[in-house]
Symmetry: C2
Subunit: 386 residues, 2 copies
């Protein structure tokens, strides 16, 4: 397999964007990535999208986006794995370039969630439709169960747990305030979170990622081509994917994301590194509790330890392991199919030293973790700048 | 890139299967393919499915199917390209094995279309939702426009055109009558077609593929592993994919499927062969007119010539180029996401000499062509038995 690099990145502003549509969002991000890469021809394209059928009554996104991008006869694929669609699209683009089948591959993710469709209903298709969604459970409900299990497993008093969890949202809004593409740029306090509407106990509105429209794209190429472009060469040194039981009730321990542990182990093994070699992380904080559980499954904290990460300041820009410098899903926004690719965009900007106010000084290696459902699928990538 | 072989195949019966569900269909076909291959561990899995969100209110099929197949932590992907979802899933599985990333990869396709959902509405998401579906056009309408364009371009009188087109359906039902997995096993006559309900002039009910539930799976491995299994080694020697304008109105000539021509050229080039080296074809006869246009775009007939193929008997089993020996989409059935994989299943059974009553004597090389929408995406594979 050949070494692969990210040679271009681009994304739209994330937000509630009523004046645009699915195809326009994708094409905007794709053109930005192509311009950044300095290429105009493509060999193949991957489009990560969760449920454009339910949100926008449009499937067949590979063909649609290749057409609207003006790339005649381009082989193009739509990849879906719920909220991990973007990350898995990136993995497949990486495999195609590594295989030698193609040189220049565009990987994008897109979701248009503000369309009038019932968002909670559409997102419920990421859970087990027959044994979870049919019975009325929603995603805030599923993650609330994970939060309760965590609290009980590690015997953390409710008030302490609740307050520490709030620090995850406070930190991600602090980071998002520095990101011009973020949906929410206002800073918040612990009180903002604790006084927000109760959604599914113990999760409140400000523990939940928002409903977002947006797209993000990257261009992949073999490292030998990347080296000729005169920019810092950001290589993909590790890729790991895994699945686990789709229904929460079928897992041994719902406070432990075994799917993330499995995907991360594969990525670390491929990269031949350990968690201590990572300088920054973009991870899947669809709810504040997810950031806590993911940090542990990635091996950065002992089980039960990551509840203190944001609270202690570790995961702030300038802390010992900056996490979600982009603002994460919470503040940057979470257009579900685009999120996995947007994470890669942030890591690349950081490793190139282009992250402006959000820059993590001296960052050499970044990790991106994307997740589907309540932890039924996950994908982890590790990028390194030469 | 490594050489890749198909080491196992399996499929469910196709039909109107109210007493089963999406996951059960997939798992049944997958277990059959695994048993046929003689393997029990997998490195990766691809699930082709068009619109389970709209049909069954379930996305996230990679995780769901890996879970129900009992393959803990298996990397798994859902691939969508409308009715070409299965064929593109096969292509990505092929690339993954060829790359060296994985050895044993399962590729499946599945669709549960009888669920109570509005089938015509769900399928319309394969067209341009904003410029076609929104205005009320349906797939029979789109292919009827293609049929009219063909008739006028080649100046064929309506009655002659109508009768010759009927022979495509007659031939595919004749083949389907020999396939125990086919949805329809009754033979029909030209009169059956000409007297069936008019759907979209000139297409009648018996020109249209049916609404079908079903799944099909294959197992891929490197050729060096396949050689140890003591069965005929069926290699993937060519793979080509392409997209074109999603909306019919945006194409230069709607009677010519440029997307099929582009995909086929890539597959022939990879295989280093020409159409005359092919012994049998499974192609995407979602409507009778599609079989005609695809045969021309694949290079088997001159433009305007393939209308005579079934009429002259060329494309029957025993003819000079047997086409859709399985019964095709018309008689075998068309569970949209499964079709591309089911085509591969038929080619492999034929090349192994296991096709029973349908066997094409001495078949060494088969071609499978799968298509999305009205010709916005297509994928072509060429398989050869050693």
């Amino acid at each position: 397999m050949r070494e692969v690099a990210v040679i271009g990145v681009g994304m739209t502003k994330f937000g509630e964007l009523w004046n645009t549509n699915l195809r326009s969002l994708f094409v905007e991000a794709a053109l930005k990535a192509l311009k950044d890469a300095g290429v105009d021809r493509l060999d193949s394209m991957y489009v990560g999208c969760m449920t454009s059928g339910l949100f926008a009554h449009q499937e067949h996104l590979g063909a649609l986006m290749a057409d609207y991008l003006g790339q005649k006869h381009l082989p193009a694929y739509r990849i879906e794995s719920a909220c991990a669609s973007g990350g898995l699209a990136f993995r497949l683009g990486f495999i195609e370039v590594a295989s030698g089948m193609s040189d220049i591959v565009l990987v994008g993710g897109v979701e248009k969630m503000h369309t009038g469709a019932d968002v909670t209903d559409a997102l419920s298709t990421a859970s087990d439709s027959e044994y979870e969604a049919f019975l009325g459970i929603t995603f805030p409900g599923l993650y609330a169960m994970i939060a309760n299990a965590y609290m009980h497993k590690y015997r953390i008093p409710y008030k302490e747990f609740r307050e520490k969890l709030a620090h995850v949202a406070v930190k991600n809004h602090e980071h998002g305030s520095k990101n011009p593409n973020a949906q929410f740029r206002m800073k918040i306090t612990v009180d903002t979170v604790l006084n927000s509407t109760l959604v599914a106990d113990p999760l409140r509105l400000m523990d939940c990622s928002p409903v977002t429209d947006g797209a993000a794209c990257v261009v992949l190429a073999p490292v030998e081509i990347a080296k000729k472009l005169g920019k810092p060469v950001v290589k993909v040194i590790g890729s790991g994917a895994a699945t686990s039981a789709i229904a929460l009730a079928q897992r041994d321990d719902i406070a432990w994301l075994d799917v993330v542990e499995a995907a991360a182990k594969r990525a670390y093994d491929m990269a031949k590194i350990t968690p201590k070699d990572i300088d920054l992380v973009e991870l899947h904080d669809c709810f504040t509790i997810a950031e806590v559980c993911v940090l542990e499954a990635l091996g950065f904290y002992e089980p039960g330890g990551a509840i203190n990460a944001a609270y202690n300041g570790d995961t702030y820009i300038g802390g010992k392991l900056p996490v979600n410098t982009s603002g994460g899903l919470k503040a940057k926004g979470h257009p579900v199919g685009a999120t996995g690719v947007a994470q890669i965009v942030e890591i690349v900007e950081q490793l190139r030293g282009n992250a402006g106010e959000r820059q993590v000084k001296g960052a050499k290696r970044g990790l991106a973790q994307n997740m589907g459902g309540s932890g039924a699928s996950s994908v982890v990538h590790i990028l390194e700048v030469e």
